[in-house]
């Protein structure tokens, strides 16, 4: 793909630690390290996806970038400007360009408002258009996402899950954003409806030159949509590379087992499955050394004592694992 390489979003060593309070005087006893120092860039008109199991910090990362929750540490650059240092009030001018779409379209839409007023609201708060212009814009965007003029005067509960997600997309789109963070945007939808929404997202991206940060636990969907993918575990980035190399040449043992766990739709190809032992550890008490070591089939002594360095082991391919301290040995190239 011939895309101009210019980062729209840069996240540098971002952390979000939630305090756990206890005792009568509610002293902070410990912290949930929801996001524990992650970094990535997202290029213009690119789809960058974050994947990982429940609780690994994907949503917190998305919310921290938009300052819906204030990150504990780190830097975020939007179009080259640092946006964590400024006040919430100053941050508002960036917010119009950065929108978010959530998993559950119902809870994120006010049930008492009609679709028309839901779409008008953000336009009117930012005072960008006259009422008439704004209305035209509403109809234009609604039509673009597949909602008729008649449907626009209805309430969200009169719509099916897929249609509600179209409303959320319209609401994000109407501000003419550059960046949209989509948190499990299609996860609650049925397969036949999921496909409609994914096609719509891909078309809109081309048409409006959008940059997506796509958060999902569904690797099949992520594979379809992404240019690059970051794999998270316990608040940290384990591996980050292009979609193609993640699926064809996964390096990190966690990525390999995650890929092998996807139920296959192929009747003829039975997989050699790597079944991981145990569960994800508690992010308030992460293990020493490598966060994955308690479940890693290839864990060794070094993994317990030293945290692996997150490094670029080949072009555009970042990994945090001691197996690659000396680069990539030939035999480590695992093919699924």
């Amino acid at each position: 793909m011939n895309k101009v390489k210019k980062p729209v979003l840069q996240v540098k060593n971002m952390k979000k630690h939630f305090p756990i309070k206890g005792g009568i005087i509610k002293r902070t006893k410990n912290h949930v390290r929801a996001v524990d120092g992650i970094s990535f860039d997202v290029q213009e008109q690119e789809t960058f996806s974050l994947v990982g199991e429940s609780g690994c910090g994907k949503s917190t990362t998305g919310r921290s970038i938009l300052r819906l929750t204030e990150p504990t540490d780190g830097e975020v650059y939007f179009n080259g400007e640092e946006v964590l240092g400024c006040t919430q009030k100053e941050f508002r001018k960036y917010r119009k360009d950065m929108q978010m779409i959530f998993q559950d379209p119902f809870s994120s839409l006010n049930p008492r408002m009609t679709v028309k007023s839901l779409l008008l609201e953000p336009l009117m708060t930012h005072k960008l258009y006259s009422k008439k212009e704004a209305l035209n814009k509403v109809y234009e965007i609604a039509e673009r996402v597949g909602l008729s003029k008649e449907q626009v005067s209805r309430h969200p509960h009169e719509f099916s899950g897929g249609q509600r997600q179209r409303i959320s997309i319209a609401r994000a789109l109407i501000m003419n954003p550059k960046l949209i963070i989509l948190d499990e945007a299609v996860s609650a939808l049925d397969v036949s409806i999921q496909a409609q929404i994914l096609n719509l997202l891909i078309d809109l991206q081309k048409e409006f030159k959008l940059t997506y940060v796509f958060i999902s636990h569904d690797l099949n969907v992520v594979k379809h949509l992404s240019d690059r993918i970051g794999v998270m575990y316990l608040g940290q980035m384990m591996e980050m590379t292009t979609t193609e190399s993640l699926f064809n040449n996964p390096l990190h043992p966690y990525t390999t087992s995650l890929l092998s766990a996807i139920p296959s739709y192929d009747r003829n190809k039975k997989k050699d499955r790597i079944v991981l032992k145990g569960d994800v550890p508690d992010p308030a008490n992460p293990p020493s050394g490598c966060p994955f070591r308690l479940r890693c089939p290839q864990a060794h002594e070094l993994c317990e004592t030293h945290k692996p360095v997150y490094q670029e082991v080949e072009d555009n391919h970042w990994v945090a694992c001691h197996l690659y301290n000396e680069g990539i040995p030939e035999r480590k190239r695992i093919r699924l």
């Binding site: 409806i193 496909a195 092998s260 139920p263």
Partner: protein, 347 residues
């Protein structure tokens, strides 16, 4: 092979404000001993209702309006009293739900809850029960069962809880295990653990499985036969092999096509247009898939399609397989549509 469970023409109605709407329509399927059978369908297609009806646990607003559910060829489950059903539930037929907490009581220990199940059906001593519980917890892969059995559900992770629920469902060595979306609430790595575990355990205990899921991947990995449901009806019933290699019903074809184009970025993702109809939108006559079907004919909107045996181990409910459906609106021979599909599908 004799059938363990046989459902004949089961219909379930729901009462909404004094009117009755049909939500499961003339569903038939049979599960052989030791067979792994799947029901797949999108949300609201009636999968859970079917499983709840087998357990004879339908809510008051719901009623079986037609049909039978035969267990071991003699017992008609829909007509049994609650007392008679109690003897079967948990012992001959067990069920696992999507959310483990629906089966677990937060205020009792794991040991207490599993022993309650045993007490209903057997007269074991305390010591015997303890040993049985430890051994089944070991079987489902719970580490340190002696101490874990003393803990409360909230002290366990989602995956561990689902293991406990499986242990509880299997402790009386049931003949049929119904698993209603048992891994939908779990992460893929935990899902893989649980599916592998279920496969192992049902082999070990000779249990038949009814696997209910919206995920064709789960069907592919666990089942031998499958029924595809759409809007309360079985639209295709088939061996899993045939379903994946030559799906016959347009809905099944659509589902598989959208899954198979997923991941292939060069191609537009195949999608089935429109939405799943809600119970109040359903018409009495005609094909329930007609509003979304790419091969729809005038006939489909007026007359309900019959079940047709389309291959030796496959039945599909569609007019295209009959003489009356030979030509569609464009005058194109309908079987051509199906061949076309298979061509795109085999590439």
């Amino acid at each position: 092979m004799s059938n363990l469970l046989e459902i004949n023409n089961l219909s379930i109605d729901v009462k909404i404000e004094k009117s009755y709407y049909n939500i499961v329509n003339r569903l038939s399927l049979s599960i052989a001993k030791k067979q792994k059978y799947g029901i797949v369908g999108e949300s609201g297609s009636g999968k859970s209702l079917t499983s709840v009806a087998i357990m004879n646990l339908l809510a008051d607003s719901l009623s079986v309006s037609e049909g039978q559910i035969l267990f071991e060829e003699t017992q008609e489950l829909t007509t049994l009293s609650n007392k008679e059903m109690m003897k079967i539930r948990g012992k001959d037929i067990s069920i696992i739900f999507q959310e483990p907490m629906t089966a677990l009581d937060p205020i009792f220990t794991i040991e207490y809850q599993i022993s309650e199940v045993l007490k209903i059906h057997f007269n074991h001593s305390k010591k015997e029960m303890r040993e049985m519980i430890i051994s089944i917890l070991k079987d489902v892969g719970i580490p340190r069962p002696e101490s874990i059995m003393k803990s409360y559900p909230h002290e366990l992770s989602g995956g561990m809880r689902q293991r406990v629920v499986i242990a509880m469902a299997l402790i009386c060595k049931p003949k049929l295990l119904i698993a209603d979306e048992p891994t939908t609430a779990l992460d893929v790595t935990i899902q893989a653990q649980i599916l592998e575990l279920m496969n192992e355990l049902t082999e070990k205990y000779d249990t038949s499985i009814l696997m209910i899921t919206h995920d064709l991947g789960v069907i592919n990995e666990t089942c031998e036969r499958v029924a595809v449901m759409y809007a309360g009806e079985v639209v295709e019933e088939s061996s899993v092999d045939s379903l994946f290699s030559h799906p016959k019903h347009p809905y099944t074809q659509g589902l598989l096509k959208s899954i198979h184009t997923l991941g292939d970025r060069s191609e537009k993702l195949y999608s089935i247009p429109g939405n799943v109809p809600t119970p109040t939108q359903l018409k009495k006559h005609g094909c329930r898939f007609a509003s979304r079907c790419p091969h729809v004919m005038d006939l489909c909107k007026e007359e309900t399609p019959p079940y047709v045996e389309v291959s030796e181990d496959q039945v599909s409910k569609c007019w295209l397989h009959t003489e009356r459906g030979e030509y569609n609106e464009q005058g194109q021979k309908a079987s051509v549509a199906s061949e076309e599909y298979e061509k795109t599908f085999s590439d």
